[in-house]
């Protein structure tokens, strides 16, 4: 008997007390928690949470100008740009495309990355990336030290359940809630360990292009 069959057999014999006629869905799961809530405006709430996490956040009526300006402010010149991010957004900075895929060392040599996102959760200040065309594969938002993320208002939801409804589990997902952090040295919080040390968020009403 294979280990697989042995383990499954052990599971079944351990569950001898469960009636054979019981289907998994027969066992009740009360779902009395809230799927959404009333409260402050989601944009306001999101800004509050992001600031709390030490992310930089701006509301930008004009996205291209705001992206270009942020890059200049950071002195970021060579920028990883997923295919869905128009080169015009980057202003003077050079858009480095991930085609053919950049090696980790090449990503490491870049000044930053500009992306869109899939969903944003206001209550927890969480940006969810799903590797869509305006976000690229996961390494793009991991290795460069500066991540500028453009969030459209219509991508913001209030709660975690609302976010999961919008997400596709078949895609690789990265949930980001502020820059990485550690408190391993004498309980002092240090922001920015292995992920990008600077997370900047632009909230815009515009529909980002997805090429």
């Amino acid at each position: 008997m294979s280990s697989r069959d042995q383990i499954l057999a052990r599971v079944r014999s351990a569950l001898a007390d469960v009636p054979r006629t019981e289907d998994p869905e027969d066992f009740p799961v009360p779902r009395d928690y809230e799927r959404t809530r009333s409260g402050p405006d989601v944009v306001e709430l999101l800004v509050d949470r992001l600031v709390d996490y030490k992310a930089t956040v701006h509301e930008a009526p004009e996205v291209a100008a705001a992206v270009a300006e942020a890059l200049v402010r950071h002195g970021a010149r060579r920028i990883a740009a997923p295919s869905g991010i128009p080169a015009e957004w980057l202003g003077e900075a050079e858009a480095v495309r991930d085609d053919p895929p950049l090696r980790p060392a090449e990503l490491d040599a870049l000044d930053g990355v500009v992306t869109g996102c899939a969903v944003v959760i206001a209550e927890t200040g969480t940006i969810v990336l799903d590797a869509g065309p305006d976000q690229g594969r996961r390494a793009l938002t991991l290795v460069p030290d500066y991540h500028l993320c453009v969030v459209r208002r219509d991508q913001i939801v209030r709660t975690v359940p609302e976010a999961l409804e919008r997400l596709d589990p078949a895609r690789p997902l990265t949930w980001i809630s502020g820059p990485s952090a550690t408190s391993d040295i004498e309980l002092n919080r240090v922001e920015g360990v292995h992920g990008p040390r600077t997370l900047e968020v632009l909230i815009t009403g515009e529909i980002a292009s997805t090429g």
């Binding site: 569950l15 928690y33 980790p104 359940p161 690789p172 997902l173 820059p179 391993d184 360990v193 292995h194």
Partner: protein, 465 residues
């Protein structure tokens, strides 16, 4: 706080620690109380916490009652998404599977993100004896690994090291493991974290094989979920060409939508954050990676067979029960003699291993039954109920069981000084016999230093403290 939601081997630092026991105790107390307060605040602001907790417990119960169905679903979904699934009955088999998978890649180095399952099976030792070097990548674990000592706390494994010691360790040992620390390294936390970042970066960028655990595995979709803080998890999960995840069979949840419960319960209950900085979710072979899932039993099916004890398998390893436990605060993580410390360890270890020795028999007595752990548990595990049930089993075994067990728990809690000595010897012992995992309680019984039978019950004794 390292902020991973998984633990560490509950074994002590080497005797070289320059921090006094009193100082260490103070630090630990400060850490648990800080996290407790943070947790209470973020749980308090979630208006539907009680309903989430009820749903969390029920989802886990549904999973456990039909675990065979869900395991087969998970397997099918992972395979359909291009992953490979392996089944390991025990630690030895799991280690053999992982070693063979790494060998097949031709690599002799792997990067690891801290996981309780791999610590439970002592994977690093198995890799080492096959000539494979495993690099732990959590900052705290790095400090511990470079300093060649043992983690001292589940939340803050390097709490026994102060900043100047960490600086010393980095200056002295980084060079022999990879990129050296800068010669002018300062001892402020920011500079130290930066040195660690640069040191590990090189390793991440060149790693070919990553090893992880998982916080959740979704049966319906085959999705695995890892929560973390530092970004080392993302590095290990994303950059290597081959990813091997070792996951206990109790980590399953039935559906994608069920994650909406746990993605609220776990971060708030664990590190006291509304959300942890990073979470990765992936399904099967992702972005060109080769993906292996190793499903681990190693005693879990025995836990499952106990109708009362089964609820211990709901545990999502948030560690909230440790931080509120008066016994844990006094005894420290090491005295539980396994990778699972605190109240959850007291009910899980004796069930996973069976009541096979004095340590396992004594663990159900390492509690005042005050119930704080039950109250705080995000999946409502009734720890006192399981403790009492286990005690009745110890008693039913007759012989010296209960008296020895109670005495053991009492001695440990009674003498911090003895405890720290025992920890040290346990730490040393472990280096020679990595498979034995002798906790202080068993270390004692080994020396036949049979304790005086308690004249009062553990509870009465505790009440007098």
């Amino acid at each position: 706080m390292s902020g991973t939601f998984v633990g560490m081997p509950a074994f002590p630092e080497a005797s070289s620690s320059a921090v006094s026991d009193a100082q260490l105790r103070h630090n630990l107390r400060k850490a648990t109380h800080t996290i407790r307060a943070k947790r209470a605040a973020v749980v308090g602001e979630q208006p539907d916490w009680a309903a989430l907790r009820e749903a969390g417990a029920a989802v886990k119960d549904r999973t456990l009652r039909h675990l065979d169905v869900y395991l087969e679903r998970l397997e099918a979904a992972v395979v359909a998404a291009g992953g490979q699934v392996h089944w390991a009955g025990d630690a030895e088999e799991a280690n053999r599977i992982v070693v063979d998978l790494v060998k097949a890649t031709g690599e002799t180095e792997v990067v690891k993100v801290k996981s309780m399952a791999t610590q439970e099976i002592d994977l690093n030792a198995a890799l080492a004896s096959a000539g494979i070097r495993a690099y732990e990548t959590d900052l705290a674990e790095l400090i511990v690994q470079l300093g060649d000592d043992w983690p001292s706390h589940i939340l803050v494994p390097a709490i026994h090291r102060n900043r100047s010691e960490i600086r010393e360790i980095f200056l002295k040992h980084m060079a022999s493991w990879g990129r050296p620390a800068p010669a002018d390294l300062k001892d402020d936390p920011r500079a130290l974290a930066e040195a660690a970042r640069l040191h590990l970066r090189e390793r991440f960028l060149s790693a070919r094989v990553g090893i992880s655990g998982a916080n959740f595995a979704v049966a319906e979709t085959g999705t695995l979920v890892v929560l973390e803080s530092e970004g080392n998890g993302r590095m290990c999960l994303t950059l290597p060409e081959t990813l091997i995840s070792v996951v206990g069979i109790e980590k399953l949840v039935p559906t994608w939508a069920d994650l909406e419960v746990f993605m609220q319960l776990l971060p708030r209950s664990s590190t006291g954050e509304r959300m942890n900085p990073y979470t990765s979710m992936w399904t099967g072979a992702t972005e060109g990676q080769t993906f292996h899932l190793v499903l681990l039993d190693n005693g879990r099916t025995s836990v499952l067979s106990d109708e009362v004890g089964r609820q211990a398998l709901r545990c999502i390893r948030c560690s909230a029960c440790l931080n509120v436990c008066p016994v844990y605060e006094r005894a420290g993580g090491h005295s539980y003699g396994s990778v699972y410390p605190g109240p959850i360890g007291a009910i899980l270890t004796p069930q996973l291993r069976g009541l096979v020795g004095p340590l396992e028999e004594s663990l159900p007595y390492a509690s005042t039954l005050c119930g704080a752990c039950y109250e705080v548990c995000p999946v409502a595990i009734n720890i006192p109920e399981v403790l009492l049930d286990l005690r009745s089993k110890v008693v039913a075994r007759g012989h010296r069981g209960e008296r020895l067990a109670m005495g053991a728990a009492r001695r440990v809690l009674d003498s911090p000084r003895w405890l720290s000595l025992a920890q040290r010897s346990a730490g040393r012992l472990r280096r020679w016999t990595p498979r034995r995992l002798p906790g202080p309680l068993s270390a004692w019984s080994d020396t036949r230093d049979v304790p005086v039978p308690p004249k009062q019950s553990f509870r009465d004794w505790w009440a007098e403290r």
